[in-house]
């Protein structure tokens, strides 16, 4: 076979291959574009969650819109769902009644725990897989408004107060105070805690709100620490109780369940006198199971 013919044959074969591959790539791109367009961008398709959020929030006026966040359930500790409208003002103050008996695990299916490192430890050591929490080391009644600790599926993080706009709960447990023990102004603490509770009630009007008081410090730590000591704990707990009475939310005396006869956290409950070990997180959990309330 002449060489010229061989060369032109190879060239033709190569050209045919290039054309075939190009056609396949073009068809694939067209198919992908069509799927993306009709699935996500078509006006007839109501699944677009951002547009749905905007439509719903638009009913309440632009002054009530703040942050929009896509939320999907990602993990047991941090729970997110597709956003809903921001809560309207709650009903008139309700009366709480202590429930009889001990609740089982399912009681916490629709509960949220909000707190600092102590709550974080509690969440880890509880043997319940359905517990949900927004908590972080160092979180406080002021930083809860600014620290972006709640991760969204798209990688962004939002604050707890923003997250409370998009997911509703039937019970909310709040525990703060240990990171505030060094605050010099008592009235400032009460004002800020009151504001926090008011905002949570506004965002979660159907939830029973439990405010857990500050767990005491161990005696050995309390003796030598000018901030983390039981004098401060007792003073701040009295303020928390006052705030709860004024705001009509449930005051949970978790401290009494964990303290020894002197009112301190037992030495064997904690390594640093502040953070509870597995055993005492279990005692804490048991107290919560036996102290639940319903609206009257």
């Amino acid at each position: 076979m002449p060489l010229d013919y061989k060369r032109s044959y190879k060239t033709r074969v190569k050209r045919r291959k290039i054309i075939t591959i190009s056609i396949i790539v073009i068809v694939f791109l067209l198919a992908s574009f069509s799927i993306i367009y009709f699935r996500f961008w078509s006006k007839d398709n109501q699944w677009n969650p951002i547009e749905e959020l905007r439509r719903q929030i638009g009913q309440y006026g632009n002054d009530q819109t703040e942050h929009l966040g896509l939320a999907l359930q990602r993990q047991p500790i941090h729970l997110y769902t597709i956003g809903t409208v921001r809560a309207t003002l709650g009903k008139a103050d309700k009366e709480y009644v202590l429930s009889e008996g001990r609740v089982d695990d399912s009681y916490f299916d629709d509960a949220l725990f909000i707190g600092d490192s102590r709550t974080e430890g509690f969440m880890l050591y509880s043997n319940l897989s359905n517990l949900q929490a927004y908590c972080s080391k160092g979180l406080s009644i002021t930083r809860i408004y600014s620290d972006e600790i709640v991760p969204l599926e798209d990688g962004r993080k939002i604050t707890v107060m923003e997250a409370l706009q998009v997911q509703k709960y039937k019970k909310i447990y709040i525990m703060f105070g240990v990171n505030e023990l060094g605050w010099p102004y008592d009235d400032l603490f009460q004002e800020q805690y009151s504001k926090l509770i008011k905002d949570v009630k506004l965002l979660q009007p159907e939830a029973v709100i439990y405010v857990e008081n500050i767990i005491p410090i161990s005696a050995s730590r309390s003796e030598k620490d000018t901030i983390y000591n039981n004098d401060n704990v007792n003073r701040f707990n009295a303020m928390i109780k006052t705030v709860c009475e004024e705001q009509n939310v449930v005051y949970l005396d978790v401290a009494s369940a964990l303290a020894d006869e002197t009112g301190a956290l037992p030495e064997n409950a904690s390594v640093d006198g502040i953070h509870c070990n597995v055993e005492y997180c279990g005692i804490w959990m048991e107290y919560l199971r036996n102290n639940t309330y319903v609206f009257n």
Binding site: R74, I77, E120, L124, G138, S270, V271, N277, V278
Partner: protein, 172 residues
């Protein structure tokens, strides 16, 4: 004449192809031998026993508690499907001390688990820098090892003992 030229070209072509094939075969053999030397696919670890050995053998400052595996995986951002077995211990937040021994469901999930562990260490480092700076050194230099399909994390001060226990478990 033409035929002789063509046959000559064909012959040279065959000789070139033959040499090329020989070289490729030798290279492939060398690569396979080196790859075989680099992997620990024969490693077999009982994740629960190793985690317990680390718990009891290493000197700890904190009181560690066992964490339910799926809860720990959610902290690491690792899907439960990526993990065949595992055991995790974490501290009370008084320290950043932690043990995690995870077996990947398959070889291609090892990287997923490694990245999850690395992200966990980074997150803890960022958190403890302002919360309790004394914990930073152990988070900056944790024991994080991969043995075959197993990924082992140990955040502690007693690194030498942790590494010794891990090496003994893998027979190395």
């Amino acid at each position: 004449m033409m035929k002789q030229i063509i046959n000559g070209q064909r012959k040279r072509s065959y000789i070139r192809k033959g040499k090329f094939a020989t070289v490729a075969a030798i290279l492939g053999l060398v690569i396979c031998i080196l790859a075989g030397c680099g992997t620990d696919t024969a490693v077999s670890i009982d994740t629960g026993i190793l985690a317990d050995d680390l718990y009891s053998g290493v000197t700890w400052k904190d009181q560690l508690g066992e964490i339910e595996l799926n809860k720990a995986l959610s902290l690491y951002g690792i899907s439960p499907d990526a993990v065949a077995s595992g055991k995790v211990y974490m501290g009370t937040n008084a320290t950043a001390e932690e043990i995690a021994v995870l077996e990947a469901a398959s070889a291609d999930q090892v990287t997923v688990i490694q990245e999850g562990m690395e992200a966990r260490v980074e997150a803890q480092l960022a958190s403890f820098q302002s919360y309790n700076a004394q914990e930073v050194p152990k988070l900056e230099n944790p024991v994080l090892e991969t043995k075959g399909n197993y990924v082992i994390l140990c955040v502690c001060d007693d690194k030498a003992e942790a590494e010794k226990i891990i090496n003994e478990s893998t027979g190395k």
